[in-house]
Amino acid sequence: MRRYARNGLWLLLLSCFSFVACAQTDSSTILFQKLRARLDKVNDYVADVRIRIDVSFMKVPPLAGKLYFKAPDKMKLERNGGVSILPKKNINLTLNSMFPVGDAIVIDAGTDVVNSRAVKVIKVIPQGESDIVLTKIWVDEERNLALRTETTTRDNGTVKMDLAFGAHIAQGLPDKVIVYLDVKEYKLPKGVTMDYDANAQMKADDKGNGKNKKGKIEISYLNYEVNKGLPDNIFAEKD
């Protein structure tokens, strides 16, 4: 009799744990779906941007231009005839590209604090064919905003993104995005480039920077024009 009572208790406890786990998963899934739904409201936008590229081997001045985005993953930086530089392939600078589309498993990963705000952390694993393996999202539940993402892709390593919201918070669009990405070392033969390197001090500095293989791209959005309907040919490569 006592054995039956003990087994029954275990069964009850197990059920309770399963229920709590299910409830947590459900709330995380709902949180993710709410977030995704908010992003899905933005079909396209054009924004004036300022971009700062901080990569050890790149010496690029701050770039100003127009950033065009069209869901789900089209993006283009236009600089009035100037040269534009953006991270390649799926690592682009929009939040949409960091969120898996289609079915996904959402797991509660606890809580954290981002910029003095308490946030809920969720992990999203896409179910279908996707370059994204896993996305970790720090969600401000109160405002239904992602303040940080960490996306692991199959081909492009891990990309972290910090987002700051301000003037365009109503549309869920960030004022500033900082993308942290892994970059490979860059090297060309000196016999080809024939470098001028009489400055020993600069060489020493460069050596120090060369060890840093982390890159950072800071993009400030000055204004947005949302859902005006962008034609696809804007994103076509011009020769």
Partner: protein
């Protein structure tokens, strides 16, 4: 006397051969870039292109000019030597040196005037390079941001921030060519035939350029003292930030070499027994 020396230089057909060679090489580079520049850009950018999508008018006049300068500033010293190596040796060869020295000018003055005439010729070569290299390239390919690929860095300069760099680069190239002219005049004082100084100058520049560019620790100690190491300091103007300290050092080294070559030439020329 300077006018006379300039007249001597510019009445020779060989003087204009240099301008023709430079024009031909520049045209060839521009033609190659016009026809197949996109392949060149893709090849050059592949290290960065794997990680970043770079688009826009990369193949513009400023990039083509940089490539022209890069290839021609190795060859221009040879063209400068063609004339500067002849200024003293040519007189000896023609048997006009004694006649020249009957003029009321000191021997040191003769050397300086001949050097200044050689430098004037080198300046004209560079002006011509600016016209066909920079002017024509901008006309054909347009303007845009300049991408400068170094061995360990990708440097991008904005369009409005480039022209002053080219002006300073050409000014620096003038100093570098003046050093070559001083070397050629120096070697010219030893010979009674212009072939020796011309080939001698070319030989010195080729050998020292190899020393300057070889990445072998043994040569690293002598590299900072070779004028060929400092002749490419014009590239510093296309870096960000511009390494002004290093460029000033290079300027001082080149000025030092010019002074050394000219002083040695004057001393030797003053003691020389002129027989022709």
């Amino acid at each position: 006397m300077l006018r006379l020396e300039l007249h001597k230089i510019f009445r020779r057909p060989r003087t204009y051969i240099s301008f023709l060679i430079m024009t031909a090489v520049t045209f060839l580079i521009q033609l190659a870039m016009y026809v197949d520049g996109s392949s060149f850009v893709s090849f050059a950018m592949q290290g960065v292109g794997e990680q970043f999508a770079i688009s826009g008018n990369i193949l513009n006049g400023y990039l083509v000019t940089y490539l022209v300068l890069q290839s021609l500033l190795i060859h221009i010293p040879l063209l400068v030597a063609l004339v500067a190596g002849d200024v003293l040796a040519g007189e000896a060869n023609a048997g006009t040196m004694r006649l020249l020295l009957t003029k009321p000018v000191s021997r040191g003055g003769v050397v300086l005037v001949k050097y200044i005439a050689s430098v004037a010729y080198a300046m004209l070569l560079l002006v011509w390079l600016a016209v066909v290299g920079l002017g024509l390239s901008v006309l054909i390919f347009g303007t845009g941001d300049l991408i400068n690929l170094k061995s360990d860095a990708f440097v991008m300069l904005l369009e409005h921030d480039i022209m002053w760099r080219y002006m300073l680069a050409f000014a620096f190239a003038a100093l570098a060519m003046s050093t070559v002219a001083a070397l050629a005049v120096f070697l010219s004082v030893f010979a009674d035939n212009s072939i020796g100084p011309i080939i001698g100058t070319m030989g010195v520049i080729v050998v020292l350029t190899i020393f300057s560019n070889l990445e072998i620790p043994l040569f690293n100690t002598i590299k900072p003292y070779l004028f060929t190491t400092h002749m490419i300091a014009w590239k510093g103007f296309f870096d960000a930030p511009v390494p002004y300290d290093a460029i000033i050092t290079s300027v001082l080294v080149l000025v030092g070499y010019i002074a050394l070559f000219l002083a040695a030439t004057i001393v030797i020329f003053k003691r020389k027994d002129i027989q022709s």
